[in-house]
């Protein structure tokens, strides 16, 4: 697969949630594609459908209709087990609430995905330590999540997402729970990972600072792609101006 090929392709993706008798339409027919190695932000106001889109791309949720192809895999044709394998091998997740396993240390949290992949213990440990060094947590291998700050926990989450070299890293509002300085540091770090490891990053965000770091910005509104711009000196979306 060449560098310029699309890693994500979504065609007319629709998704609705049912709450009691009320149907909430989250996605109304989104069509988009993301190239391998991209650093993309899905932006939009709360309830616009960006998190749903991210979940569907990552195989955490399924679309009601439409096609979603991730790294050559058509998700609608996959079983739960195959989707789990896709998440394990091809996708890395960074959650807004960090979602680290509280009883494991930072090092063990990073190792966990490799444990599921069946990587031998020595190699696991070596790679986990290297990635924690990369994200600036070289002195905190043995700290549990409760002993780390929000920013440090999110760094561990990024390290966990990227350690097994997935094709794509999906980050759902990664800076939402961080102060601006910590958030900026995290974004710098992810940008470096994107450049150094050629990993594709897709964020969902409504934070202007995060958008400024993206090289491409897809605006989602009412479950549809409202705008799609590639950085050429800065983005201009009327909704955020």
């Amino acid at each position: 697969m060449g560098f310029n090929m699309n890693i994500v392709e979504c065609i007319d993706v629709k998704k609705a949630y049912r709450q009691d008798t009320l149907e909430v339409r989250a996605l109304n027919g989104i069509t988009l594609s993301i190239q391998k190695g991209a650093f993309v932000a899905l932006a939009g106001p709360s309830g616009s459908g960006k998190t749903t889109m991210l979940n569907i791309i990552g195989g955490l949720d399924t679309a009601d209709s439409g096609r979603v192809i991730v790294d050559g895999n058509a998700l609608e044709d996959m079983t739960q087990s195959e989707l789990a394998n896709l998440r394990l091998r091809n996708v890395g997740f960074v959650f807004q609430a960090y979602n680290l396993i509280p009883v494991l240390s930072a090092l063990e949290n990073v190792e966990f995905v490799m444990l599921l992949q069946g990587i031998p213990p020595d190699e696991r440990r070596e790679r986990a330590m290297a990635i924690l060094d990369d994200v600036g947590l070289e002195d905190m291998y043995n700290r549990r999540p409760a002993e780390l700050s929000g920013g440090q926990q999110q760094r561990v989450a990024v390290a966990r997402a990227i350690v097994s070299s997935p094709s794509i890293v999906l980050a759902d509002e990664p800076t939402a729970n961080l102060d601006s300085k910590t958030g900026k540091g995290l974004l710098e770090m992810m940008k470096q990972m994107n450049e150094r490891r050629k990993a594709t990053f897709v964020f969902s965000t409504h934070d202007k600072m995060v958008m400024d770091y993206a090289r491409r910005l897809i605006l989602i509104r009412d479950g549809l792609v409202a705008d799609d711009q590639v950085r050429e000196g800065g983005f201009r979306f009327a909704i955020f101006d």
């Binding site: 979940n55 990552g58 955490l60 949720d61 399924t62 739960q80 087990s81 789990a84 394998n85 896709l86 998440r87 394990l88 091998r89 997740f93 959650f95 979602n99 396993i101 966990f112 995905v113 599921l116 992949q117 966990r160």
Partner: protein
């Protein structure tokens, strides 16, 4: 876990009590003149009259010598129904003529005399009677008792005996029913001329009963009948089958209660950790691995619960093994069903293994439901759970 502990404990403890009770009943039945195997003249069991006596003891004796395993004890007996009377009372009894030395090794009577003395081999007029009979007849040690029965010529034979000993038995009915004299005295009274009513055999190992019974049946001439204690004590055999059925029923009841406890515990554990399962699935854990994880937790819950339940069960049995449970206050009721006055719990390896196996296998089976539930949540549903 408490459900598992209580379940296993109750299965082992109550199983041991039931087993102890039934074993006491069997031992009591066997010791009360039945033995493990009896040989009779053909027709004696259906019509235990004096005409159906065994005339040729030598044939039986040689068969017994060649077939009985080492350590087996056996004794010949004369046994007829008769009437005992004194100046005040009369009542039906079973007159048993015994070889005092051999009988002591086979039945309870050898160590049951509590007043007076046991019979001697050449005793002609001495008789052993039960405490309940003495009380009923308002007589005492040293007094005379007249026994009447039909002799071989069809005439009524009667003879006066002097009470030389009083015995106690597990059941009052036994004390009232049997009166023991020496075999010679009985044969002389009934004009039996060396004939006997039965041969009673007590094996060292009860487990050999069927094998030895069958071997004797094949070897002895058709003029004789061989019966195991199961044939001779049909009510007890029925109790045993009832006991086995009851145990299964009890296991089922305990298990249903425990099964609900396990399912409830595991479901609570799953729901409490639904976010964790969601995260594990999001990170790529397959549904099957989550089922395995929940089942592994059930496994440890069961193993720890079983270990504690077994320990408590065996300790409870141990605590009661010395004194047993005294049911003397309910003696009339317990005697009615042939139970001993004191129940001593008896642990059977088979019962313990069965209880543990049942809890373990069914415990894991009911854990499949919460495990499958944990595996069925989509990551998004699970991560959104608060």
């Amino acid at each position: 876990m408490i459900a598992v502990i209580i379940g296993v404990w109750s299965m082992i403890f109550l199983g041991a009590l039931m087993r102890g009770m039934i074993e006491d009943m069997i031992e009591n039945g066997i010791a009360t003149l039945t033995g493990h195997i009896q040989v009779h003249h053909k027709g004696y069991r259906d019509d235990p009259v004096i005409e159906n006596s065994i005339a040729d003891l030598n044939t039986i004796e040689s068969a017994l010598e060649s077939l009985l395993p080492p350590g087996t004890q056996w004794t010949p007996r004369v046994r007829v129904n008769g009437i005992a009377s004194n100046a005040r009372h009369s009542d039906g009894v079973t007159l048993v003529g015994i070889d005092p030395e051999l009988e002591a090794k086979v039945s309870f009577i050898g160590h049951a005399v509590t007043q007076g003395r046991y019979l001697t081999l050449d005793e002609e007029n001495g008789i052993l009677v039960g405490k309940a009979l003495i009380d009923k007849f308002e007589t005492k040690l040293g007094r005379k008792l007249v026994l009447m029965s039909q002799d071989t010529s069809g005439e009524i034979a009667s003879r006066s005996f002097r009470i030389v000993g009083v015995f106690r038995a597990e059941m009052e009915a036994t004390e009232k029913q049997f009166a023991f004299v020496t075999m010679h005295a009985a044969q002389r009274m009934l004009r039996l001329q060396g004939d006997i009513s039965e041969v009673s055999i007590r094996l060292k190992d009860q487990g050999e009963t069927d094998r030895v019974t069958n071997a004797l049946k094949e070897t002895l001439p058709s003029a004789y009948e061989v019966h195991s204690w199961r044939d001779l004590l049909p009510l007890l055999s029925a109790y045993m089958r009832l006991f086995d059925g009851f145990m299964w029923l009890w296991y089922l009841v305990v298990f249903i209660a425990m099964g609900f406890g396990i399912v409830n515990t595991m479901l609570m554990a799953v729901f409490e950790r639904i976010r964790e399962f969601g995260l594990l699935k999001a990170l790529g854990m397959r549904p099957w691995w989550i089922i395995k994880e929940v089942l592994a937790e059930s496994f440890f819950l069961l193993v720890i619960g079983m270990a504690i339940g077994n320990t408590l069960g065996l300790l409870s049995v141990l605590a009661l093994s010395g004194s047993g449970i005294d049911l003397s206050a309910l003696a009339a009721g317990t005697e009615y069903v042939g139970m001993a006055r004191v129940i001593y719990p008896a642990v059977s390896g088979k019962d313990v293994a069965m209880a543990n196996l049942m809890v373990f296998i069914l415990g894991l089976l009911v854990s499949v439901y919460p495990a499958a539930k944990a595996a069925r949540f989509t990551p998004v549903e699970a991560l959104a759970h608060t």
